[in-house]
Amino acid sequence: MDLSKLKKRPSYPFETIAVAVSFSPRCQPLLQQAKQISDVCRASLLLLHIGEKTKEKEKELEEIMDKSGINPNHSRVIWMEGEPVDTILKLCKLNIVDLLILGALEKENLLKFYLGSIARNISRKAKCSVLLLTNPTNAPIKFKKFVVNGVDNPKTIHTINTSLYLAKLLKIKDVSIVNEVDVPGLAMTIAEDSTAPQTKEIKKSFTENSEEVLQLVIEKCDIGNINLNNKIIKGKPGYAISKFARDKKADLLIINSPDTHLNLFDRIFAHDIEYVLADLPSNVLIVHSRV
């Protein structure tokens, strides 16, 4: 597999968008929303089905595509048998997919979560950006509020830029860039020998530092006429932004792709993206910056 085209490929624009087809009741609305997004991004649409190709399934897919307004001449359908997660990831790499759209439940039962559902496992491993749509409907997409992570990480600038690219296309005005302040061991450190003003000063310095870091990143981004709200929140990374997005009733939470290969331990001792995947607060876009 020649992956040279994938390396250093920018995280946006989305030129090729793929959607996983499962023939579930949510399949048709999912395809309809994928079609809308690909139209907005002027991207080519790729439909991936992992499973046996039968006459019945082909016919059913044709009907779904027709209902969703997908023109077979302007899209491609790939059928392949195999283990769903690995096969979808392989197809995404082979076809230089920029964005993979998947339907996902907001919350899965405990066993399924720890074992890893298809959508969540793809989100953990994908080498392209992944959009998890929690409640696809036949109505036109009307995103109004984006919440974007602004953590201190080299990937963040790509994530913010991708968010801004999408916000411009979808004409979103309300974009919140959120940096989470979490200092492990702080309570213990200040407990024994800090005065009240010192404690206040220490906490303030961490918040100010996070603000500076966020400001430096934002200064490098192509903001255009979008009104950005910078926000510093306290709490564990991943959990805090997830709660913020839920409280704000965001339509889309946009986060960095994971830095390390995630496994069962990361679900048991959850951190960052795992808090988001455990209970999706809204639709979630995981931006793979390919850096």
Binding site: A191, T260, F265
Partner: protein
């Protein structure tokens, strides 16, 4: 007949506790001006109030304030035991295993090597040269001491390290996070091993339960608390914090869980400290635990139980009589060499530059309060002699004092 404190004994108990609290606070505040760790001030107070100085100069007053007979020593022993349980609970509260996973390869390598190398260095020296430490050459005591000595050299002190990193403005840097994550992992493994060693020292227990049962109990309890126990705490905490009195509700429930867990591990012949430590991890790792609740628990334990515990150390041991320069030197050399080398190798293998890896090595070298607690428990369990205990205390203090300045050399 029910034994209870007499009127005079109660006065003595209250006097000794208040003396320890007030004098240690004065010394802690003075030490703060000199940038010394609080624990150092508390230890010095113990030495001053204990047999080393006060007991030698005013033996009668010393015997009055800290009597060795009657009911007061029992009451004090109960308070000290409770103190160490509480200290381990708050130490556990700051352990976030997710941080090790989050930091990835470099934290995993650093924590592994910073444990393995000092552990085996300490174990080997104790095993092959037991005469240095006046340990009998019999297989059993020698093995126990070697295991303990290895553990004592491999543990780190998260509170001291966190303070050093904060003072150096390194807390949120890559180096800082690697050190914090690795120290957390060191603490967890160190206390698991130490609990295992302590359970082996209990002779009645080893008559009945095999070694493997002990290991299975420790691992089983740890696994249960860190998975199902943690999940239950996580689910009930929001309810506790909103429906019960604030912050009283969460304070009493959390300390109750700590004591319950400590009682359970003690009842299955693993030391109570493990129960408290693991309960601390399960509780402190919850995303729902409010910052204010965490701070209140820390304030309460750190400013009431910690001074009593650390001052009590000086009350029990005469530091001048039990100072053995050879043992102190050996412990210091092994502690520095094993930890700095181990952590540096780990950080290098994890991809850090030479200088940053050395900074991590010296940062991880601070032993502080954790080492002192470990040494005290070992002394009480009869695992080590007083000269070794004194050497460990000195090592804990010197490593804590030198950690920051030595780190600085490699950061600049």
């Amino acid at each position: 007949m029910v034994n209870q404190l007499t009127h005079t004994e109660l006065i003595v108990l209250l006097l000794s506790i208040s003396t320890m609290l007030i004098v240690s606070r004065i010394f802690a505040e003075l030490g703060k001006r000199l940038k010394l760790p609080v624990v150092m001030g508390e230890l010095i107070v113990g030495i001053i109030l204990g047999p080393t100085i006060f007991g030698m100069l005013y033996p009668e007053a010393f015997d009055f304030l800290f009597p060795k007979i009657g009911n007061v020593p029992f009451a004090m022993d109960g308070i000290f035991k409770l103190s160490v349980i509480m200290l381990l609970f708050v130490a556990g509260m700051e352990v976030q295993l997710s941080l090790v996973l989050k930091q990835g390869k470099v934290a995993v390598y650093t924590s592994m090597f910073s444990m393995i190398i000092p552990f085996f260095t300490g174990f080997a020296v104790a095993w092959f040269f037991p005469e240095i430490f006046s340990i009998s050459n019999e297989q059993g005591p020698k093995l126990l001491f070697s295991l303990f000595f290895g553990t004592a050299l491999s543990i780190s002190a998260l509170p001291v390290i966190a303070r050093i990193l904060m003072d150096m403005n390194l807390f949120k840097t890559n180096i800082g996070m690697v050190i914090i994550a690795s120290a957390m992992f060191n603490d967890l493994i160190g206390w698991l091993i130490f609990s295992f060693i302590l359970s082996l020292t209990n002779t009645t227990h080893s008559d009945h339960i095999s070694l493997w049962y002990t290991v299975a109990y420790i691992l089983g309890f740890g696994l249960f608390m860190l998975t199902i126990g943690k999940k239950i705490i996580d689910k009930t905490l929001p309810w506790m914090q909103t429906k019960l009195s604030w912050p009283g509700g969460v304070l009493s429930i959390s300390l109750g869980i700590c004591l319950l867990s400590a009682a359970f591990t003690e009842s299955i012949n693993i030391h109570a400290i493990l129960g408290a430590f693991i309960a601390g991890i399960a509780f402190g790792d919850s995303v729902h635990l409010r910052e204010q609740a965490r701070e209140i628990i820390h304030q309460f334990v750190t400013n009431f139980f910690a001074p009593l515990f650390f001052v009590s150390i000086g009350l029990k041991v005469n530091f001048i009589e039990n100072f053995n320069p050879l043992i102190v030197t050996i412990v210091l050399v092994l502690a520095f060499a094993g930890k700095v080398l181990g952590a540096t190798i780990g950080a290098r293998l994890g991809g850090m530059s030479r200088n940053h890896a050395l900074a991590v090595g010296f940062g991880m070298n601070a032993r502080g309060a954790m080492e002192i607690i470990l040494g005290t428990l070992a002394l009480n369990a009869g695992l080590i002699s007083k000269p070794i205990f004194v050497a460990l205390i000195i090592m804990a203090l010197i490593t804590s004092l030198t950690s920051g300045p030595l780190m600085k050399r490699f950061i600049d």
